[in-house]
């Protein structure tokens, strides 16, 4: 029972708690305002001064309340456009920092503990890499240690550490059992999508914008193939189709979204016609806070859980029913040979022939001329592609801004850009020529990390064109290949590495060119992948899989028996932990040997040692037992007394064991007299 109020100066737990919060705030620095971090640091410093007794006055309640008011106002004014969770984290840290300054009661201490756990949980939501998880795990242990210390203030540090570890490792197996076998619930309500951070994809692309392509080295997803891995130039991972063009930006069409919402409401998913051999794989997607997913070509969900959780859109796009706030694993089968000819033709054509009323006049004229030369759709497309190839177009990641009539200035003035520029220009041209076309964004390629797994990073983001050249089937075209084939054949990384005009801050220059760092990177990617696959991606499918393997076919009876078995197992675990009989007694070995021998003697001759010392017991037995036994007892007693009263010249335990054995043997082989 802690006392209701804690001392201030020299209180170890308050100090440790403040250290914990400062470290935690520092670890969350990219998710919190700088001033919140500074406030935490201040609180830590104040606490340090109080702890050392250099400063004897706690900040007044009134002052801290004023500070809270100020900080709250600051938070409201500076948190524009932050999502709810981040605002909550900031608010919690703020409150904790202020509470730390006032920490003087048991209740405050407990409140801080609860908030600390909450903040750790938010850390788990924001970051899920293996390294971060380990870090937060250690922080959690530290927190337990603080809590335990508060309840055993005067025990030694070793005891407290040991006890914390004991509690931790006793709870761990139970938690693992729960994790592996507890039935999983679907989300209880639909979460709103968050603002996407650092992703190579967006629902709107504006090729002429000053904003450069996101060159983040972060992982987007990993795909593990159970069939052979397709070659790189076939790895076009679809994510979004952009069907609306306003002259500058391409975005997801609102009409399309409305139609999809209605279909979803009626629960009418799209069922694509499939043909040819499937490519099967599992995707583990990083959290994007959005619900779009990645898959190759024409893809369908490939497992029971994925079928429940995925939605097949009418524009060959897979989405999840929930935004991805955590790593998410799903199974997909793709049929690259299926013609993409379905869908609502009327809607598709209307949407994909839409062009803005005016703007980009040069392009309109040029397309008009080109179309007259090539009335045939295929010929027109080839001519377009040839144009990119013949003219001095170049691929660059840092094109100049093209703010007015971006397509015009790209096609005729600058003639340099990245995939979005090419895809945008081509799609616009096709639409002007009366061919339904749209931009597909997603990722292209990927880095193999082992024989069946491909890691796709944010810098692999790509945009290409899909058009109905023959009037019925959607076909993919990638104008970027005309300009920078290496982008497709060797992957973005290679292309960027050997491109002469890479920005200095590009993640892939310098350090990563060393083989050693490459190996390291690959290793950490592997580790993270395994972590994702077996822990973060553990879902209903895998749970069913495990149960199926254990039970050899799931039936309700087997399942209930298994559940009962698990409960029994848990009970057995608790018994092992807590029933005293199982505990090692702390009697020294030497004492055990002596007492064992004495017990044998007592039983045989009906003697009672009671509370006699070894010496007294020998005197008492001397004349009541045969001489040989008395002699043995004498030697044992001598050794044992030496051990007990002269520790520095104690005989080895083996000597006592031998003497005890000798005595027992003799007692056994002596008849009662």
């Amino acid at each position: 029972m802690m006392s209701v109020s804690l001392p201030i100066a020299g209180n170890r737990e308050s100090m440790l708690t403040s250290i914990f919060f400062v470290v935690l705030a520092a670890s969350l620095f990219s998710d919190i305002h700088l001033w919140v971090l500074l406030l935490c640091l201040c609180a830590g410093i104040v606490r340090g001064f109080l702890f050392l007794g250099w400063y004897n006055h706690m900040p007044g309640k009134r002052m801290v309340n004023l500070l809270a008011l100020l900080a709250g106002t600051a938070l409201i004014t500076t948190s524009d456009g932050m999502d709810f969770l981040h605002i909550m984290v900031n608010l919690l840290l703020l409150a904790c920092a202020l509470k730390l300054m006032l920490l003087s009661k048991r209740r405050d201490f407990y409140q801080l503990f609860i908030c600390a756990i909450f903040l750790l949980a938010c850390g788990f939501i924001f970051y899920q890499s293996l390294a971060r998880t380990l870090f937060y795990g250690i922080m959690f242990l530290f927190l337990l240690y603080i809590l335990l210390s508060a309840h055993t203030p005067s025990s030694t540090r070793q005891f407290r550490q040991k006890k914390t570890f004991i509690l931790f490792f006793q709870a761990l197996p139970l938690a693992v059992i729960l994790f592996v076998f507890m039935p999983r619930l679907p989300p209880l309500w639909k979460m709103p999508e968050g603002k996407s951070t650092e992703t190579g994809l967006a629902e709107t692309i504006t090729p002429g914008d000053i904003a450069n392509l996101a060159q983040s080295e972060k992982l987007a997803f990993s795909a593990t193939f159970s069939t052979p891995v397709p070659v790189r130039e076939q790895l076009y991972w679809r994510a979004l189709t952009l069907e609306h063009f306003d002259g500058k930006s391409w975005s997801v069409s609102e009409t399309r979204q409305y139609a999809e919402t209605q279909l979803r409401y009626m629960n009418k998913p799209f069922r694509p016609a499939l043909s040819g051999e499937p490519v099967r794989y599992e995707v583990i997607a990083e959290p994007t806070k959005k619900s779009w997913l990645f898959a190759l070509d024409t893809a369908v969900p490939d497992s029971a859980a994925s079928q429940r959780e995925l939605w097949q859109g009418w524009q060959y796009q897979l989405t999840s029913r929930q935004p991805l706030f955590s790593r998410y694993a799903y199974y997909v089968a793709s049929y690259p040979d299926s013609p993409r000819s379905q869908g609502n033709a009327a809607l598709d054509n209307t949407l994909n022939l839409q062009v803005p009323e005016r703007g980009n006049d040069k392009t309109r004229e040029w397309v008009h001329g080109l179309r007259e030369m090539h009335p045939d759709n295929r010929a027109f497309v080839s001519a377009l592609m040839r144009y990119f190839n013949d003219k001095p177009f170049s691929y660059t990641l840092t094109p100049p801004p093209m703010l007015n009539d971006p397509v015009d200035s790209f096609l005729f003035d600058h003639q340099q850009g990245f995939c979005a520029h090419y895809a945008s220009a081509m799609t616009f041209a096709l639409r002007l020529a009366g061919i339904p076309a749209r931009i597909v964004t997603g990722y292209q390629g990927g880095t193999p990390i082992n024989d069946e797994t491909v890691n796709v990073y944010q810098y692999d983001a790509h945009a290409w064109v899909e058009a109905k050249t023959d009037g019925t089937n959607w076909q993919s075209y990638d104008p970027t290949t005309m300009v920078a084939p290496s982008r497709i054949f060797d992957g973005f990384e290679q292309a960027a590495r050997f491109s002469t005009e890479i920005q200095g801050d590009h993640p892939l220059n310098g350090i990563s060119q060393l083989a050693f760092f490459d190996a390291l990177r690959n290793m950490s990617a592997q580790m993270d992948f395994l972590w994702s696959r077996w822990f973060l991606g553990y879902n209903n499918d895998k749970q069913t899989d495990i149960l199926d393997r254990i039970l050899n076919g799931i039936t309700p009876l087997k399942l209930s028996l298994f559940a009962a078995g698990l409960l029994l197992f848990t009970g057995a675990l608790l018994i092992i932990f807590f029933v005293p009989g199982w505990q090692r007694s702390h009697i020294a070995r030497e004492k055990k040997y002596y007492l064992g021998a004495v017990e044998k003697l007592e039983q045989k001759f009906g003697l009672q040692r009671e509370n006699r010392s070894p010496g007294q017991f020998y005197e008492y037995c001397k004349h009541k037992v045969p001489e040989a036994i008395a002699n043995d007892l004498a030697s044992l007693t001598r050794l044992f007394e030496q051990y007990q009263y002269h520790p520095h010249q104690a005989p080895p335990a083996t000597a006592i064991r031998e003497a005890a054995k000798q005595l027992c043997w003799r007692v056994r082989n002596t008849a009662r007299h």
Partner: protein, 320 residues
């Protein structure tokens, strides 16, 4: 009203479950165990985290929740194991005067082969005042103060002993009744005793009284007499122990009689209480008459205690 009824009922139930005894060994029959306030908040927090984990479909968070839950279960057992086997025993209480505080000392001893861990909170059953005892310090006993306000024999209430080791999530407590009584003497009210009238009536001459003022004589020492009057110089020289006798200029002994005091009984008892202590301090011989109860004149500690006890129990219905 409800609370009163419930309180009475629970005390009755406790009396059946934990009969009074000076020594209590804690075991599953007398330990209560339940989440404390912090424990409930902790569980609520775990539930909130579970909601977050399910909605964000976050396995890490889910595992954290399950770990927190398992930890709770483990602490439940650890807490119980920590205090089971502990022996609580109470020492006899010294009598006090009404208005003073009586102290009951509770000793805490660990079970065989275990060491005491954590903090323990001890208070009277239903009392708000609580004090914390650190079981890992040297002293493993605790003095519980109780206000004695009425003369007579006071039956001490139950004691509540609480521990929330290891993490404060669950509380283990017990309400032992140590079967102790506290003898409360009447409050002292100063009023000088005039013993001369009794002397005049009883016709005894002036007696030598053991006092403190003047040296009077040496007497052979008898066991039980205070050592501070032994003539140690003689003992050091190899002589026998001899008591130095001092005298006071004292009136002769007589009886203190309750009927002589013209006040109500309680005030009279208070006055007598003060007089008994005064006279004992000066070493005067005196007797005590309370209605039919007569205590022959004497002096010394035991005599004083007998008198005070008689005063405390005067016309009390409770059996002593």
């Amino acid at each position: 009203m409800m609370r009163k009824t419930f309180g009475a009922w629970s005390l009755k139930w406790l009396a059946k479950r934990m009969p009074p005894d000076t020594v209590h060994q804690l075991h599953h029959g007398n330990i209560f165990i339940f989440p404390g306030t912090f424990g409930w908040f902790y569980l609520m927090m775990t539930a909130c985290l579970f909601l977050l984990a399910v909605n964000y479909q976050n396995n890490l968070l889910l595992f954290l929740c399950q770990f927190l839950l398992s930890l709770f279960l483990i602490t439940l057992f650890t807490a119980y194991k920590n205090i089971s086997g502990i022996r609580l025993s109470a020492r006899e209480l010294k009598p006090v005067f009404a208005g003073e505080n009586g102290f009951m000392t509770v000793d805490i001893t660990a079970a065989e082969g275990k060491s005491l861990r954590g903090l323990m909170e001890i208070r009277w059953y239903g009392d708000i005042d609580r004090s914390t005892l650190d079981l890992e310090q040297e002293i493993k006993s605790h003095h519980l103060a109780i206000q004695a306000d009425k003369r007579g024999i006071m039956r001490l209430p139950r004691v509540t002993v609480t521990s929330s080791f290891p993490l404060g999530l669950v509380k283990c407590w017990t309400h032992p009744d140590f079967n102790q009584t506290l003898l409360v003497y009447p409050q002292k009210k100063p009023e000088h005793a005039d013993l001369s009238q009794w002397y005049a009536r009883s016709g005894n001459g002036k007696q030598v009284q053991n006092g403190t003022d003047d040296f009077f004589a040496l007497q052979p020492w008898q066991s039980g007499e205070p050592l501070n009057r032994v003539a140690w110089k003689r003992v050091a020289k190899g002589g026998d122990r001899v008591n130095k006798i001092f005298t006071d200029q004292q009136p002769v002994s007589g009886y203190l009689d309750i009927r002589q005091l013209r006040t109500d009984t309680e005030t009279a008892l208070s006055v007598l209480s003060w007089q008994v202590t005064q006279l004992s301090a000066t070493g005067t011989q005196f007797g005590l008459k309370l209605d039919n109860l007569v205590i022959q004149p004497g002096c010394g500690q035991q005599h004083k205690q007998a008198c005070l006890k008689a005063l405390a129990l005067f016309r009390q219905d409770t059996p002593s």
